[in-house]
C-alpha cells in the first residue's frame, strides 16, 4: 500500500479490541497506523504499541474529536498524503479502505466520507437508523450540506484537507464540525458505500442514541455562537 496513507484511530478504553483492529490493518499492508489513546484507564496504549501502531497518549481524556485531531496532526507531520479516520471498536471494515482512499490519492476529491446508506447494506438497528437520519436532516438544515450518512466515523482526508479543516469540538460534535468545514473551506467530497459492522461488542462501545440530543444542542450552539 502507498506509504503516504496513514490510518488514525482514536481509542478510549479499547484494550480488548484495539490489537485486532491494528493487526488487521497491518495484515492488509497498511503500515502507518496511529492510535491515539485518549486517557484510557486500561492497557490500550501498550496493546496498540505492541501491535505495531504509532501510539500517542492523551494524559487525560479529551474526547474523540480531540484525539482524532492529535492523530491527524501527527500524520501530517510525518508527511501523510491521505489520512483515514477509522474506528477502534471494529465497526469499520479493512476491505472498504481501498475504495475510500482511491479517489483522494488520485486527486479526484479532497475528502471521502463513508456512508452506510448507499449501495452495500449494513444491518443497522432501527432506533440507530432513526437517529442517524435525524442527524442527516439536521446537517442539511444547519449547514446546507446534503449527505446520506452524516455521522459515519469512516473518512479519508487529503493532506490539503487535513491541514485546512479545523476541529475545535473536543467531543462527538466533531463529526458535524468536519462537514461544516468541508463547506466553509470549499473542499470537494464524495460519499463512498461502506458496511458498518454492528457486533455485540461495538454496540456496547458506541455512543448511546440519546447522546444525539447533546450533539444537536452543541451543533446549534456552535452554529450561532461561532
Amino acid at each position: 500500500m502507498d506509504k503516504g496513507v496513514w490510518i488514525v484511530i482514536a481509542a478510549f478504553n479499547e484494550g480488548k479490541s484495539i490489537a485486532n483492529v491494528v493487526k488487521s490493518l497491518k495484515d492488509a499492508d497498511y503500515s502507518n497506523v496511529v492510535v491515539v489513546d485518549d486517557g484510557s484507564k486500561d492497557e490500550t496504549f501498550d496493546v496498540a504499541s505492541k501491535a505495531g501502531a504509532h501510539a500517542l497518549r492523551h494524559v487525560i481524556n479529551r474526547g474523540q474529536g480531540a484525539a482524532l485531531k492529535t492523530g491527524i496532526d501527527f500524520a501530517v507531520r510525518e508527511g501523510a498524503q491521505a489520512i483515514v479516520t477509522f474506528d477502534a471498536d471494529g465497526q469499520h471494515r479493512v476491505e472498504d479502505l481501498h475504495a475510500m482512499i482511491g479517489p483522494v490519492l488520485k486527486g479526484e476529491v479532497d475528502v471521502t466520507l463513508g456512508s452506510r446508506f448507499i449501495g452495500k447494506k449494513s444491518d443497522i438497528p432501527f432506533v440507530r437508523k432513526l437517529f442517524l437520519k435525524g442527524g442527516v436532516f439536521m446537517i442539511w438544515l444547519l449547514y446546507g450540506v446534503k449527505l446520506t450518512d452524516a455521522h459515519n466515523g469512516f473518512r479519508c482526508l487529503s493532506r490539503k484537507a487535513a491541514q485546512s479543516i479545523e476541529i475545535k469540538a473536543d467531543r462527538m460534535e466533531h463529526a458535524s464540525e468536519i462537514i461544516d468545514e468541508l463547506r466553509k473551506k470549499r473542499l470537494s467530497y464524495r460519499e463512498i458505500p461502506v458496511i458498518i459492522l454492528y457486533t455485540d461488542y461495538s454496540k456496547t462501545r458506541g455512543q448511546s442514541s440519546w447522546n444525539a440530543f447533546r450533539i444537536l444542542y452543541k451543533m446549534i450552539l456552535h452554529k450561532f455562537l461561532r
Binding site: 500517542l56 497518549r57 492523551h58 479529551r62 496532526d73 501527527f74 473536543d170
Partner: protein, 107 residues
C-alpha cells in the same frame, strides 16, 4: 441598626477586604478591582440608605427602588455567569491543546 443592616454591612466589609487583598497580590486587574469595590460598596450604601434606590429608580420609570435593585442584580449575575461560561470553554480548548502538545512531543 436592623439585623439586615448588620448583615449587609458585614458582607460589604468582607467583600471589600477580599478585593483589596486580591488586588495587593495582583490577582485582580485595576478594572475588576474597581468593579468589585462598586458592587460591595453598593450593597452597603443600599442597606444603610435605602431611599437612594428609589431616587434612582423613579426617573428610570421603575416603580420601587427594590425592584430596580433586583432587576440589576439578576442582569449582573447573568452577565457574570456568561463570562464564566466563556472562560470555561476557553480553558477546555487550552487544556486540549496542552494535552495534544504533550502527546505529540513524546513521540
Amino acid at each position: 441598626m436592623t439585623p439586615f443592616q448588620i448583615f449587609a454591612g458585614l458582607v460589604m466589609v468582607i467583600g471589600i477586604l477580599r478585593a483589596f487583598m486580591m488586588y495587593k497580590e495582583r490577582k485582580l486587574t485595576n478594572g475588576w478591582f474597581v468593579f468589585w469595590l462598586i458592587i460591595w460598596g453598593g450593597v452597603g450604601v443600599l442597606a444603610f440608605i435605602p431611599s437612594i434606590s428609589y431616587r434612582i429608580s423613579a426617573p428610570l420609570g421603575v416603580q420601587s427602588g427594590i425592584s430596580l435593585v433586583v432587576y440589576l442584580s439578576i442582569t449582573l449575575l447573568f452577565y457574570l455567569v456568561f463570562r464564566i461560561f466563556l472562560r470555561l470553554e476557553k480553558l477546555q480548548t487550552d487544556i486540549t491543546r496542552l494535552v495534544r502538545e504533550i502527546a505529540l512531543r513524546k513521540k
